[in-house]
Point group: C2
Chain length 244, copies 2
DNA sequence: CGGCCGCATTGACAAACGTCAATTTATAAA
DNA sequence: TTTATAAATTGACGTTTGTCAATGCGGCCG
């Protein structure tokens, strides 16, 4: 959302990147990595800065070196829906490269983040040269599709409370710390409004659900910190009718 | 859902298929089409028969020659959610081929349908031989992902009534007939229960929404037939707050 | 330090939704 | 055609949610 331009960095090249062997680009050979290095530029973003905006023309694909990025979409009224959280190693924005259309979502840094932009021409050249890269993108996209479809099923069948429990469990996996026994704690990467949009409700309703969860001893919220006494208890929330 | 086995047909080969130049396989050369023909088998399904079931091991990808197929997912309680309607020319089930996992969704014929099964080995060979096929799948998957994400945004921001209006407009495009003026009519390919699952609500609620829509003169339902006096009126339903 | 602004919480009320149950209408089978 | 079975509708009722509005909390900048 912040319009400030990100810092451009002179970079060491992708062969030295920490994500070299953990991202989709791992299928590239050494000289293809050199091509990638030449066709790429590294940028540093502060909290809230926009990596790319919805409606913008695609400039290439984006590879997250460090930090977390929120993928969101806005509806005509200006409401935003948080669709995905992306972390280091993730590659973003190749849908628009393939279709040639403008970005359907916007990407925004959730904290200090470094992201590399690989120009459209370089991406297309690399895909043509090494088909494995395209296959890698295909696998990744298929996984995202399954993810989105699972969310659709949950939106259709689960209560908001169960959906919140599910999101907490996912965030627990992503950025939570496990305690001694079945306990855990999370530092949320997102605001309450975004959390509400993730489960498909208003932020006021989310507040009430949180209140009820605290009453029931399931999870305790304080700012962006969440404490979960028993992680399995959250799991039980997702399928209430199966417990009986 | 019907466990009856589909009819197997001796086929003429994919080079003669009506979908030859309208499906993802259009990127294949003549001799690659011959490979496709040899690695494929054609099956005829009756209404309600299962093409592949959730949890089943993948046997390959499925190409719809004629008819319509419903892609659905079941949650642990047995509720089903209709995720996608597929028509002739569409290719299904390649996610499972890529990941090697079992099918996450089930596919079921909505009416008499003919579907070709292309064996896993043939698919992998063709993708390795002609990277354009993989790219074609990638484009298709990316489009489906955008579709799913748009639905997620709608589930989070629109009322059930607006969502129904939206589904009707999509079905209007797919299988509707336009009248003289702004009117139109649709023969629904799905039951009320499925329609309800598409907009994420119970079938009883859908019944009531339909009742209110008929009261307001927006659409008239009779069995699986829907009459829409003014198509633009449905469009206005989707963004009620923008009309003011 | 204080004011400002956005985020979060809480309350009150009306509207929408889910559930259970009964009834009517289709559809398929005998 | 009759019967059985599933789908669809309708009613009643309690719960949840959205909306509007007011208040509390926290960071940021002057």
């Amino acid at each position: 959302m912040t319009p400030t331009t990100p810092t451009r960095e002179t970079t060491l090249g992708c062969d030295a990147c920490v994500m070299r062997h953990k991202s989709d680009w791992q299928v590239l050979s050494d000289d293809e990595i050199q091509m990638l290095s030449r066709g790429q530029s590294k940028h540093c973003y502060e909290t809230g800065q926009t990596v790319y905006a919805m409606g913008e023309r695609s400039r290439g694909v984006y590879c997250i070196c460090s930090g977390a990025v929120a993928i969101r979409q806005f509806d005509p009224e200006g409401n935003s829906v948080l669709l995905q959280l992306a972390y280091s190693g993730d590659t973003l924005g190749y849908e628009s490269v393939l279709t040639g259309e403008t970005h359907r979502c916007s990407a925004e840094a959730l904290g200090p983040a470094t992201v590399c932009l690989i120009g459209t021409h370089t991406v297309k050249t690399l895909i043509a040269r090494n088909p494995d890269l395209g296959l890698q993108f295909l696998r990744r996209t298929a996984a995202k599709l399954q993810d989105a479809q699972e969310k659709l099923v949950q939106h259709a069948t689960l209560s908001n409370r169960a959906k919140l429990a599910h999101v907490l469990l996912i965030l627990m996996d992503r950025c939570g710390r496990r305690g001694t026994d079945g306990a855990g704690s999370i530092y949320l990467p997102v605001s309450r409004r975004d959390l509400a949009s993730m489960i498909g409700t208003r932020h006021e309703t989310l507040s009430r659900i949180i209140g009820r969860m605290e009453n029931d001893g399931l999870a305790y919220f304080s700012g962006r910190s969440v404490d979960i006494p028993r992680i399995e208890a959250l799991l039980g929330e997702i399928r209430p009718q199966l417990v009986g």
